[in-house]
């Protein structure tokens, strides 16, 4: 049984790998972790993580360039309901469209659009963009297993200039506040997305990765 981190040439795969590996070791979980873009591995994986660094359009370009990747992912995640986690831009590309650099079609797994934060934050507050650093989550529903042991003092590392404007509020598990409410954890059934980087969020990040890995 293994968790697969999809390597499509985007950014900090290694940090994600290291953090998952650390959680699996620390909690003595009998799961392995692999990094690959091999379609067969995607089919055989028990859970899938899609990291993402860079821009929406670059990430989508890379995914589209990998032959049959979108088709395989659609089959595994949407049809077969395999557990999935998208991180940062890996979450954003689940949207219908992104507007970073150029309007780009996303995977359309969770309805909404990814827009620049600049047009939404109040300039009088002199908020810096990117939203960079540690922020906490405003949790609406503490009973869900993903947030087990996560409390108000836990903070997570964010770095982004665009945000996922989620259409159906029921898909938002937590927001973070930065001028406006920014969806920080989104969900639809077997699909989760984190706007923050759990792999860079110290012990809080490892805790939430553990919770996700444990979800059945």
């Amino acid at each position: 049984m293994f968790v697969l981190i999809i390597d499509y040439g985007s950014g900090n795969i290694k940090s994600v790998y290291n953090s998952v590996k650390k959680v699996l070791n620390d909690y003595d979980m009998s799961i392995e972790v692999k990094v690959s873009d091999n379609l067969l591995e995607i089919k055989n994986a028990f859970k899938i993580i899609l990291p993402g660094v860079g821009s929406f359009n670059q990430c989508m370009d890379r995914i589209n360039k990998t032959k049959d990747l979108v088709g395989t992912l659609n089959d595994q995640i949407i049809t077969k309901k395999k557990p999935f986690l998208g991180i940062c831009v890996g979450m954003q590309i689940l949207a219908d469209y992104g507007y970073e650099n150029i309007k780009t079609k996303g995977l359309s797994w969770i309805n909404g659009e990814v827009k620049s934060m600049k047009n939404f934050t109040d300039n009088s507050q002199n908020l810096k963009i990117p939203h960079m650093g540690w922020n906490n989550l405003s949790v609406n529903n503490k009973t869900i297993n993903l947030l087990h042991n996560i409390n108000d003092e836990d903070q997570f590392y964010f770095v982004h200039s665009y945000f996922f404007d989620v259409r159906n509020k029921k898909n938002i598990i937590c927001n973070t506040k930065y001028g406006i409410d920014i969806p920080a954890i989104i969900n639809d059934d077997n699909i989760f997305g984190f706007q923050f980087h759990p792999e860079k969020s110290g012990s809080s990040g490892l805790k939430i990765l553990y919770n996700w890995l444990k979800l059945s």
Binding site: K14, S15, S19, I129, G133, K200, G205
Partner: protein
């Protein structure tokens, strides 16, 4: 609410930390990975490695260090020093660095920031500015220096920061060469001048002597983060001391104790 960040900076030379932490018994006090782990445990919000190696041969060890640090350190890591082109950046990011800071090279090759930001995203490109006060020369009163402050230029630090943002830098690491090493506090005037004119975060650096200095540059200078080296390395103050002082002044922090 977004927390203000406290960032210890470690100098690395030929794969070893110099002037590193020397208030605790580390098995190997010159090992960057051990020091990184310790600062991670002590509540650092980010880490900054500055490679001061003079030759490329010495610098090669950096990739191994970064990759070793990334195995045990789950907070953001910025690496700077001697970065000349996209291939250096690519190697560092692949090794596990989250951001790279570019200093002198940006002065000599003005396209570098733009090229780097286009290829890797603005989130990982930090423009490091070593500024010194020169009242008669440029409009802002601060010039850019290179080579660790040894060489002065006629570039206005404020204009340089604005241009850096335009070219796609995601953050500015602003060091006051006048305040650096004095322990008399950050240059609030410089920090405030730059921070109020750019929309990207500014990390204040140079001059930290006590926790109140950090409070002042965050409150009055508009900095998003504070960087310090010696006050942490010598155990004069801990990161917790600094964060507790920040709390007293209602600055939001990431509580790590």
């Amino acid at each position: 609410m977004l927390s203000k960040r406290v960032i210890p900076c470690l100098d690395v030379h030929n794969g070893r930390t110099v002037k590193g932490i020397n208030f605790v018994d580390l098995i190997d006090a010159g090992d960057p990975a051990e020091q990184a782990k310790l600062y991670n445990d002590l509540g650092a919000d980010e880490l900054c490695f500055l490679d001061i190696s003079a030759t490329n041969e010495e610098r090669k060890t950096l990739f191994n260090i970064v990759s070793k640090v990334a195995e045990s350190c789950f907070i953001p890591l910025t690496v700077g020093g001697g970065i000349k082109d996209n291939s250096d950046i690519n190697n560092l990011l692949k090794s596990g660095a989250d951001k790279v800071s570019i200093n002198s090279a940006a002065v000599f090759e003005p396209d570098l920031i733009k090229k780097a930001s286009d290829s890797f995203g603005c989130q990982c490109i930090v423009l490091a500015i070593d500024a010194y006060k020169d009242n008669n020369n440029v409009k802002s009163g601060y010039n850019v220096s290179t080579h660790g402050g040894k060489k002065k230029t006629n570039i206005d630090a404020l204009q340089w920061a604005i241009e850096g943002e335009k070219n796609g830098a995601g953050e500015i690491l602003l060091t006051s060469m006048n305040a650096d090493g004095t322990k008399l506090g950050y240059d609030i005037e410089l920090t405030s001048k730059i921070s109020s004119e750019v929309s990207i975060p500014v990390i204040a650096s140079g001059g930290a002597g006590k926790p109140l200095d950090m409070v002042n540059v965050l409150k009055k200078g508009g900095a998003s983060a504070v960087l310090a080296a010696s006050i942490f390395h010598f155990g004069i103050y801990t990161i917790e001391n600094v964060k507790k002082e920040m709390l007293k002044y209602d600055i939001s922090i990431r509580k790590t104790w």
